[in-house]
């Protein structure tokens, strides 16, 4: 186990705890983006570049984008005051 791998594992453990501990969804989306990047570095250290590329692209771009559009849709729904029954 190299030093880079150990450091990346610790960073991922701290990042995961931070994602769960952040309560506000917009802030949590950004922390999740950083967590995805840390995971990508870990996967590079584990000699799996395909997986690292996948995780960086998804975890730092696609996932925060989806969370933000979901938050904005919920806010728009709350503003126009639509609820069923």
């Amino acid at each position: 186990m190299t030093a880079v791998q150990a450091a990346a594992l610790i960073a991922v453990a701290i990042g995961g705890t931070a994602v769960v501990a952040t309560k506000d969804p917009p802030r949590q989306a950004l922390v999740a983006g950083i967590f995805g990047f840390a995971l990508g570095i870990l996967f590079f250290a584990f000699q799996a570049p395909d997986v690292a590329l996948s995780e960086i692209v998804v975890g730092s771009v696609a996932l925060p984008a989806m969370i933000f559009v979901a938050i904005s849709k919920v806010r728009r729904q709350a503003e126009t005051g639509e609820t069923d029954d």
Binding site: D50, L53, S54, A62, E82
Partner: protein, 249 residues
Amino acid sequence: MSRTLRTAVFAVGGVGFAVLLLWGFGGLPDFGDFTGHYGLYLAHHAVPQRVATEAVGVTTFDYRGIDTLGEEFILFAAAVGVLALLRLQRGEEGASAEPARESPSTGHSETLRRTASALAAPCLVLGLYVVAHGHLTPGGGFQGGVVLMSALLLVFLAGARFRRRTKPLEAMELGEASGAAGFALIGLGGILFADAYLENFLPFGDFGQLVSGGVIPLDNLAVGVEVMGATLVVLGEFLDQRFLSGGDA
């Protein structure tokens, strides 16, 4: 069940689960001591047999192609599920909710618009590069598809308005469907021209060339188009279809 009761039950169960999990992990081989025969066989024989330099890409689309077919259809089904949930909802509330927003989608931030418009084209080229070189270097359809999606997202962030005749949303839906169907139909080519479903039936070419590895570049292209289409359609649906709509909306 109240929240404190839930937490208490989880605390008890969680401790027991953690003990069992760590005990189970203790039975795994030591970290760095991988001895699986299938993996080692593939690592040494995948590249010479399929004339492609990237063992992971060859495993994804050739040796474990059936797993990738299943994953691709999970992607397709999830996108269709999002459409079913949100379009039904918009059908209920009618078209009345739409004109409530008159401001442009990205506000008036010039920095954002200029940066996004400058980065969109390099991102597109990078995405096409990653998709095309899936059998040579790390990359492939899945990663390249998401990069292509982010290139088109940058076009949206730059405040683009599409002309009435082009219908980008329908193009993306068509892309998603044809990508999913394309992969399954390429597999059928395996039955027609070779021995089994998803078996390779094209000539292999030379080592390191862009056109090599048989069917794998076509599979990469199909998956790339499908991932791009699915993620864009999902994002567009959340944004109430103002993203990717034709006309002056």
